[in-house]
């Protein structure tokens, strides 16, 4: 893989990409110009799917990748919420158990001036669950670690746990942990006691323990953060860290069937993965941490049929 060349998108580069890899989530649009040896250039914008009407997707993609497209129909492969019902074009879910991506099953966007294919998300019928984007990261992780059997944890707004065996996603489960942290820390009564952005590792660890041991008490454990702020001097840093720990501990309690005795790989934002790794380490489990970006690019290459059977 070449060094990454950030490109501002206003002037044409000297190379022509073989294809363009796109990760189009709710909040952001990321694109990579791909050459025979890997990434030629990278670009990002805040034109995520969440803020775009259907007719705004193609212009947003052209704004970000226009100079790479000069030579005409460079194929684009995109994963993420771009394929949701509220996205550019709905790509039906593939049902587990199945390989996380399948090059032949991408969904072409019709009536677009660009040759765009969308990677389908995965669904599970019972218990009902869905993912869009994470399947590509899982495919990339498997491409980078061939033969891995075990469990992937993808922390985030909606954390995913996925069991993988023989190259297939067997089952998965989503937790609203990240979204609950955002809502509770910024919009609930708890926000009064956790202003600022400091941190307290010991309070995080305490929260993880409480959440893991008494997850069924979560609605009471949450209010206790407020009460301890009022009557026991709990600091804002400790309150915020303990809230994070409580919610992650609660998730780990419910996800125990996934991680107990398993090989676990974490994929996601580095800081957040660090918290999950810390929480798991205290349960005696050493998780491997993968770079989300590497996994996404490798997964898009796999979906684009540009990685062979590797």
């Amino acid at each position: 893989m070449q060094d990454i060349v950030s490109h501002n998108g206003t002037t044409a580069p000297e190379w022509i990409p073989e294809w363009i890899a796109v990760d189009w989530g709710t909040s952001n649009l990321r694109a990579w110009a791909m050459g025979p040896d890997g990434v030629l250039a990278e670009a990002v914008s805040d034109e995520g799917m969440g803020g775009l009407a259907r007719e705004a997707f193609e212009p947003a993609l052209r704004r970000l990748t226009g100079p790479w497209l000069q030579a005409g129909q460079v194929p684009v492969v995109a994963c993420g919420m771009v394929g949701a019902r509220q996205g550019w074009f709905e790509a039906p879910y593939r049902a587990v158990p199945c390989a996380p991506v399948a090059a032949g099953e991408n969904v072409p966007v019709p009536q677009a001036g660009l040759a765009v294919q969308i990677v389908p998300g995965l669904m599970q019928a019972k218990p009902a669950d869905v993912m869009r984007g994470e399947e590509t990261q899982i495919a990339g992780a498997l491409a980078l670690h061939p033969g891995f059997d075990g469990v992937f944890c993808l922390p985030g707004t909606h954390s995913k746990w996925a069991g993988v065996s023989a190259g297939e996603v067997v089952s998965f489960q989503t937790f609203m942990t990240g979204e609950m942290f955002a809502l509770l820390s910024r919009q609930s009564v708890l926000r009064h006691g956790m202003a600022g952005s400091g941190w307290d590792d010991a309070a995080f660890d305490q929260g993880v323990e409480e959440g893991l041991q008494r997850p069924e008490r979560i609605a009471a454990l949450l209010f206790r953060l407020r009460a301890e702020g009022l009557v026991a001097g709990l600091t804002a840093d400790a309150a915020r860290a303990r809230l994070s720990g409580l919610l992650i501990g609660c998730e780990l309690a419910a996800a125990r069937p996934y991680w107990l005795g398993a090989r676990v790989m974490l994929i996601g934002e580095a800081g957040l993965c660090g918290l999950y790794a810390r929480a798991l380490a205290r349960q005696g489990l050493t998780a491997t941490r993968l770079e989300a970006r590497d996994c996404t690019i490798a997964g898009l290459a796999k979906a684009a049929g540009r990685m062979g059977d590797r």
Copy 2:
């Protein structure tokens, strides 16, 4: 108790109240003009504590109750968030175990042009917990049902469960159930699947069962509502009702030590208390439902020392 006379506050009535009872919460201000036989008039405004700076409390109270005050220093007894640190004047908490209110321990608001006393809230040192306002409703319920030993459940934004014995609150616990319902149904990803205002009793019952049986899975059970909407046709009415059931079921699971085998009285908004009563009934428990308004007025009378030892 006389019939309630709603009063618009612009003209002076023919009577003079003995005292004024005030329930001043985060969102609303409620006042009752009290005579020797009970309520003479009632008034309500949306000038809750949450929207008022310290110097705005007295004018807000005068706007609502001005005509009742004509004769001068009519004593006012107020409960609720008016006594919080961000309220009019901070009334220190009383520590449980203790009687829910004590007439001699109200806190006078200093430097006010009105004779206002604030009913202190209750605090519990360990596990840390606090209440402001509910203690007055509990005192009122005990005044209306002398000798009751058992458990009070006060559903709401922050639901409270309180064990009462020999006229004292022995312990209590707060759950963020109502606030979580509001945040999740209106501001999380789940809002997409629960537009409108319909209801589905069977879905509520299912949610209660799931929450009671697997409360530790709450973060996963929540996302399942979204997933079933996407892949299994879950309706908006069913999704909203099941979310309510899940959160109430989760609360009931953690509050089991309070209600199992106990006499339970519910105090709160009628619709919400109906849901809790329904959920408890399916666990074989018949809860008594009390009118929140009656309890508040009786509790304020108790705090005002105007109810004798009844």
